[in-house]
Symmetry: C2
Subunit: 255 residues, 2 copies
């Protein structure tokens, strides 16, 4: 039986430690191909490049893994892989990450990591975005490896009719202190005090995005935010259908 084909992208860029970790784990479970941004793309959300041409260049960064760097966003990487690089091959699983920094709650909206996974899901592939709750470039991914490997294995065996899109967040703890995995929903939260204000050398103010994240469901114990703050890996089944079905039948007052 041939090996499963695993496609990998990310948003921190082709040289990031989190991508390297993910490639190393996935290599043991299938044939891996990589297309990742040539520079960091954090916070790019589901952006695509419309007004500029895109470049893809083969690189030799991972042993025995066909790898390409791309001048665009994470979503561009997946689209180029599908349309240009691997259009005659059938991908079994799409992975993105491991992101340096969590993507819980509404941060899925800003996340390039999750948009790469979401592009996979739009193409009907089982797709997973992995994130570690540590923003530093030199984050410690050793505990992540254990969970990433387990989840990839389960997903390669999954034969359900509906493709799955998983948002996986791993707490920044040693393996022995992680209590397990939880299937969760996306927490309600928002950012507050979002900018630092400074004055440039010409006396003109400028603003830099920063802020504190506010959990708006402090009592809830079934959310991704609760899970990673309480020592669990959070797994949120996610969706690219943004219809609010609860409201669908209550809007006749508008029309």
């Amino acid at each position: 039986m041939s090996k499963p084909l695993i496609f990998i992208s990310n948003d921190d860029g082709i040289t990031s430690k989190g991508l390297k970790t993910l490639v190393e784990v996935a290599k043991g479970l299938g044939e891996v191909i990589v297309v990742a941004p040539d520079k960091p793309q954090s916070g790019k959300g589901h952006a695509v490049t419309i007004k500029d041409p895109l470049r893809i260049t083969k690189v030799d960064v991972f042993e025995d893994v066909e790898s390409w760097k791309c001048s665009g966003t994470p979503a561009d990487c997946v689209k180029l892989a599908k349309n240009i690089l691997f259009k005659d091959r059938t991908v079994d699983l799409v992975l993105s990450g491991i992101n340096h920094g969590n993507n819980v709650s509404i941060n899925i909206l800003y996340s390039g990591t999750m948009s790469a996974a979401m592009e996979g899901a739009i193409e009907g592939k089982n797709s997973i975005g992995f994130s570690l709750d540590d923003f530093s470039g030199n984050a410690d991914f050793s505990a992540s490896k254990h969970f990433v490997k387990n989840i990839i294995k389960k997903m390669l065996d999954y034969r359900g009719k509906t493709p799955l899109l998983l948002n996986v967040n791993i707490p920044n703890l040693p393996l022995a202190e992680i209590k397990g995995m939880k299937i969760c929903r996306q927490s309600k939260g928002k950012w507050v005090e979002e900018f630092s204000e400074s004055i440039d050398p010409r006396g003109v103010p400028y603003y830099w995005l920063t802020g504190k994240f506010e959990n708006m469901e402090k009592e809830a114990t079934d959310t991704d935010l609760w899970a990673i703050k309480n020592g669990y890996v959070s797994i949120v089944p996610s969706n690219y259908d943004l219809t609010n079905y609860n409201q669908l039948n209550n809007l006749d007052f508008i029309i």
Copy 2:
């Protein structure tokens, strides 16, 4: 009674015809304030600017309307308005658009228009993204005005407990040919043949995003895509909770 305060942004930029149309309509229904990108930001999805400073500059483009241009994305515009420019004011309604080009189906993911509206919803405000099914810079918004005005009026009167986030798409037809408005769900669809390939003067290939949109639910008559292709204004109640609740109880095999 004081006038309602209506905040407006967009993704085509401060000088676009669609924004001007929306401001003109909204001015008749409340006090309007505008923060819009200083350049086109189409396709930027829910991107935020992390690695660069942001600038905001007061501009005099709309009569009797406080207006600012911003160097960032549509999401940045809403965040700067909330945190810096209008932090002591209570906004009653957040509007975005009118976009030059439709944002039906999965295009909501790539849409800067809808990400501005979504930022409003995250802040608990009723929010609407408006798009016209015509990508040209000189699109004809005369029929749009009628529906935009009606929908804004209804939303200013809405007193429901849950904020609404509406994705409104208007077909590119004369007013007399538009059959009415439909409350819809987001259509399933995807882009195919997504790149044009060319060779630059140095012999190196480059790729430019293009493509055809493929409706994956050709028989369905309850979708946004069906509505605008059949002469109706589509209104999709939308969501920033991306949890796939249908799958939440079926994933124990992973953990």
